[in-house]
Subunit: 422 residues, 2 copies
């Protein structure tokens, strides 16, 4: 019988500036114990298990693994693929378990958002039923900060820092130009359902008159007339107006502001494009010269200005996954627990996967200012620690030197699996 002490680690969903720091935490912690075997990483996340494409991380140098700590993106490839329920697709669960058995895998660390926690939960249950119990631990990751039971999600703090810095910098730029040129600047940030990322722009403001002057949240319906009036009031008062808008901001009738945009090849309206819509609105109503930016992937990939707090937490949740597994925990997600805010102190903890799976953490209404255009003091208190500290990567020739792995695959032992849905 093959030993069962190998680990399967996979990255899932949209990647972040620090998900590789979690990978680094897993691999380095696994190396430090003699109770675990190899860490196999899924090539392109869970697809790597379905396709038996397992990356042997022991073939990478220690230097390369250690460089993961400051490398953005998903070093092993991620995927957007949600496993259906066991009833709906028994074959995929069986396949995963067959691959785990064939490669002596007894530990599954799944690094992702709510869907991934759900998958980890299902695999834990299924493997037990099948008499090959796999220790399943969820490692949180999402820039959207929408996982419940954890104070924050690794990935979010770095986006928050990027957005706050970009808002401050671009805001100063507009302030310089406003007397004779651009009077309004709109920055579009991610956040389809929750305004956490847009909210973080509010950290850029240290005095009342500073940018951002208006934040548009998915939680607050946009009234175009009100909005233009607020823009005008800011230009009248400050000489200019800086707006930070969630991609997911909607009109009162529930329609996305971005929805009038081009549809994709499948007829789906793709989000992204709120900023030009808002600028068209302002231009028509007020005639101001406007500029706009859409930060898209730049915001979540910006490892060059990652939050040191976020990096430390991302590493810690990876490391804790290994420690919790060795301590006998199973079917849990690692969480960040805030011990105190001032001074900021945090520890790692855990929550059962069945509690966290598929629960979305909304931004509390109390985190949005009463008038709906900015953040409250409570929100600032919550957010401020998450962007603390800089954790600069190494540079060569003026560019960050991010890890480039060999990603060598383990020899396959099973026949090909034909029926992957994706």
């Amino acid at each position: 019988m093959v030993a069962r002490n190998n680990v399967f680690y996979a990255q899932s969903g949209g990647v972040t500036a620090v998900i590789n720091a979690s990978a680094c935490g897993v691999i380095e912690a696994a190396k430090q114990t003699n109770r675990l075997g190899k860490v196999f990483a899924g090539k392109n996340g869970i697809l790597g298990a379905l396709r038996e494409e397992l990356i042997d991380t022991s073939k990478e140098s220690s230097a390369a693994i250690s460089a993961l700590r400051y490398t953005p993106s998903g070093a092993f490839g991620s995927c957007r693929y949600k496993l259906p329920s066991v009833q709906d697709n028994l074959s995929e669960y069986k396949r995963i378990l067959a691959v785990f058995k064939a490669h002596g895998i007894g530990y599954f660390f799944y690094n992702g958002g709510g869907d991934s926690q759900d998958t980890a939960h299902k695999v834990a249950l299924f493997s037990r039923e099948q008499g090959y119990p796999v220790t399943c631990i969820g490692i949180p990751k999402t820039i959207d900060n929408d996982l419940a039971y954890t104070d924050t999600c690794p990935g979010f703090g770095s986006v928050a820092k990027y957005v706050a810095i970009s808002t401050r910098e671009a805001g100063m730029d507009v302030a310089s130009m406003a007397a004779s040129s651009t009077k309004v600047f709109v920055l579009e940030v991610m956040g389809r359902h929750a305004g956490w990322i847009a909210a973080s722009a509010g950290l850029a403001r240290s005095k009342g008159s500073e940018p951002p002057h208006l934040i548009l949240f998915p939680e607050i319906p946009l009234d175009p007339v009100n909005f233009c009036n607020k823009v005008k009031a800011s230009v009248d008062r400050n000489g200019y107006c800086v707006v930070v808008a969630s991609e997911g901001v909607r009109f009162g009738n529930g329609k996305f502001v971005a929805e009038a945009a081009e549809k994709d090849a499948f007829g789906h309206s793709q989000l992204g494009g709120v900023a030009p819509k808002l600028v068209a609105m302002i231009g028509k109503a007020l005639g101001y010269k406007c500029h706009w930016a859409v930060s898209d992937y730049l915001q979540r990939a910006a490892r060059h200005i990652a939050s040191a707090t976020d990096v430390a937490q991302a590493y810690a949740v990876g490391q804790a996954a290994v420690e919790f597994a060795l301590a006998g925990k199973n079917g849990v997600m690692v969480t960040i627990k805030r011990e105190s805010t001032d001074p900021y102190r945090w520890t790692v903890d855990s929550v059962p996967l069945d509690k966290v799976a598929n629960v979305e953490k909304k931004m509390p209404r109390s985190f949005i200012s009463r008038d709906g255009w900015g953040i409250s003091k409570a929100c600032r208190v919550y957010l401020a620690p998450l962007i603390q500290g800089e954790d600069y990567p190494a540079y060569v020739n003026g560019l960050p030197q991010y890890a480039r792995l060999n990603n060598q695959l383990v020899k396959k032992k099973l026949a090909a699996f034909a029926s992957i849905q994706s």
Copy 2:
């Protein structure tokens, strides 16, 4: 008679991450000599002279002045205002000279692009004709890198660094996602007439298969069919495709790709919006899932990741303006002279304003690869030194602490001037 040893310094046109470093160079160099009086900065550039709104920089602390070195934007305000010819608007030239006389100003340092060099030239000639000769020195600034006679323009190197880093980071993100999600990413950068900024994205690539896979220059007409074929070829070969596009890219008929976008209140088509157009094109032809970003002001305000080389040069051209003026030079622009590329060595020099004014430095065709979709080796050799080194600002609470000046105005001595065109 009032002494004539005060200085008038003004910022002009689009601001940059390092124009304040030039201001810092001027003010600190002026302080170090006993031959100059006060440095007055124009509030909102040359408008400050016309409106007699002079900021007394001696009222700022040394620490605040020194912090200008790492503060983006235009600390005194900039403007988009081009002085007409003397014939067309004698009154404005007379007004400027009257303000200079009233405040004992004998030196005019104008920090801007081609138009500003032209204005500095006209003021130099006019002041001599009027028997009140003012020493006029141009200080180069433009992210567009389009000033002739200088090896590079302060402001450009930092944008180049930002764009190269952002391309590398977002490119790694797309690479992680491509197996089951986004296959194409388009980053739109500034550059209406010249492709210098888009070209700098090419520095992100250290191997053939790495992003950016396609660069779109204003210099090379875009054929949509060819373009989509190239995108498909990159996806087929690499699994994904990263495109960096100049805002000024045009079709073969000369029309801006962005032009189909919303018009502004005055019916002018505003640039910005190439990325969504390209993505619509790709989606329609190829059906790939695409993402896009428009970096707009973020790219030129990103002092947090400025090029140390650029910062040093920006400071040096400010300092040199003072030194050249004291050495008796007049009617010149300070230039950066490349002494050698490897190792990179540069000095400051000067060129007569009448030569540099209104001449645009285009990107040589030899800097674009033969097939038109990337940069040549010569371009890489030219660009590489300009992004060298990091020059991080100070951080407090996770955010850069940029200078905030008091901008105290000097008491006016003249009656208001009513006829400013702007």
